[in-house]
Amino acid sequence: MAILLDENTKVIVQGITGKQGSFHAKSMIDYGTKVVAGVTPGKGGEEVHGVPVFDSVKEAVEATNAEASVIFVPAPFVYSAAMEAIDAGIKLLVIITEGVPVKDSARIRKKCKEANVQLIGPNCPGLITPGKSKIGIIPGQICMPGNVGIVSRSGTLTYEIIQNLTLNGLGQSTCVGLGGDPVHGIDFTEALEMFENDEQTEHIILVGEIGGTGEQEAAELIKEKITKPVYAFIAGNGSWVKPGKQMGHAGAIVQGESGTAKAKMEILSKAGVVTVRTPQEIPEKIKEKSN
């Protein structure tokens, strides 16, 4: 089964004629994703990698019945592109673009909730159901189908963890990158519930960061509802972290004691989560649980 995405999901690429959009559309197609249309206003009628380009998401949806869309347009145009996708009836919206103003992200998130749209991102790597389909920029070659679900706030750190799993013979059901911005679409709790209800997933990895409260909310949910084993790594767990300094992601700001990696790891441990100090320890922990 896996979550959110499978081989039948029809995907639109917004910004397909741009450098990023074109590159990643190709890599999605090569991986097996059903990329049915691209959208770039003013370039309707063209083709990119054999995919028809439309002037609007509405036209693309009417022609293809696509239910998912991935946005690669530059940050100043993300708000309009997202609103357009929601209005056109898209049900799974993935925003890869980084640098989106937080007010725009919050408005997009609100509209998605009202319209029952699953929003992933912005500033995220997207998601992949190995062997079936991917939306976004997670490199397919490091993944392998299996029973480990991953939900993460990071991009490249997620690749690091996926690569380690695959090298250790542990495949993945679905890997979801939620995005590193302070305001983003689906959060840890929603993804955890999806993995809990997914038959294919037997282990769940949670990759967090300093800042915010998402990991604390996840711990609450895990205590009450999650029966599958959960493993967690929190980036920024060293003593080198300077409180108040922003480490790249807008989301990774240490806000008081509750936002530190140490506090998050403690709360997660108390909820029964296996916490590790380096991401490379996760495969052995999973193997221990499996035996």
Partner: protein, 380 residues
Amino acid sequence: MGMLYEYEAKELFRKHGIPTPANKLYENKESIDEFVKEINQKTFMAKGQALAGGRGKAGLIKKVSAEEAEDYIKSIIGKDHKGKPIQQVMLEEPMTIAKEYYLAIMINNATGNYHVLSSSMGGVDIESVAKEHPEAIFRQDLPIDFEPLPYQFVDLGKKLGFQGRVLNQFTNIMVKMFSMAISKDLTLVEINPLILTEDNKLIAADAKVVVDKNAYYRNKDLAQLKSQIDQYTELELEATEAGISYVELDGEIGIIACGAGLSMATCDLLEYYGSSPANFLDVGGGADREKVHKALDILSREKIKGIFINVFGGITRCDEVAHGIISAKEELNIDVPMVIRLIGTNDKEGIKILEENGFHAFGEMKPAAKKIVELIKGGN
């Protein structure tokens, strides 16, 4: 984070019709004597301008007479406050205080809504009020796309104890704060204290504003403010211009990594092996040759014992990144030990090229981190 200096925030307040005390800024270019005379007032609030908090405790805010002003300004100009020298001092008209309030609006990251935090006990640290007098704190959530109108804040104003004309002043200030926050993409506007004067006027005696850096492109006036440049060190500023996130730290090993999460995990791992990061440097999701070169250029000017490069080639191929590292090392005369971890398209070729040129290169992160720590500790 995009914090403004108090005088910049107050200028923004005035533009949006939020009342503030009259003030004038001393910028360390003019004669202090003439500056004070020009204002022609008996007493002032003198306030050293700094982006870090705790100005009051550091003695950077003081009520002074016209005679004392010159000496006081001289005493705090150039004084270090949490790593940065005070460059400007604001002289402000003192207020007659009847009561002090706290008022802040922000975007609540967890809900995505606007959030008002207010208190009838202002002028002190709001966190301690929240702990000791939670009954004096009042909150209100508003949708992120709402249109601010005075009636929405009548209830809140009454909870804070306002009535009559002061209540109207309050609802007006709220509307103006929100209009400003929405139009200028502010993630925090804080007034502490909001003063009720003896003649019943509400005035923002202090002002703290944080702007959303991601919205600089549509708020160019804010992006160019002195505070937005002063918040970085020179190297940090140079990195920002090249699209690199760079934060100076106190450790031994210079780091170049891809993506915030992996960069943090890289810092964590060096500490795990008994060393420490000299910086946090994130070249973004996919490294390319130019960015890695620029990153090495920045690191080559820092005092470090070694360099650890942990990159993921996204759109760029790893063999190209490897060539970039080799030429950068030569051009920049880097003589500290370097270890490179490469992953992504053509990573095996990249590692081979690096090894042939005498570099330590790995496909996995842990052995690579271990190696650089060994090298700087004097091993082989």
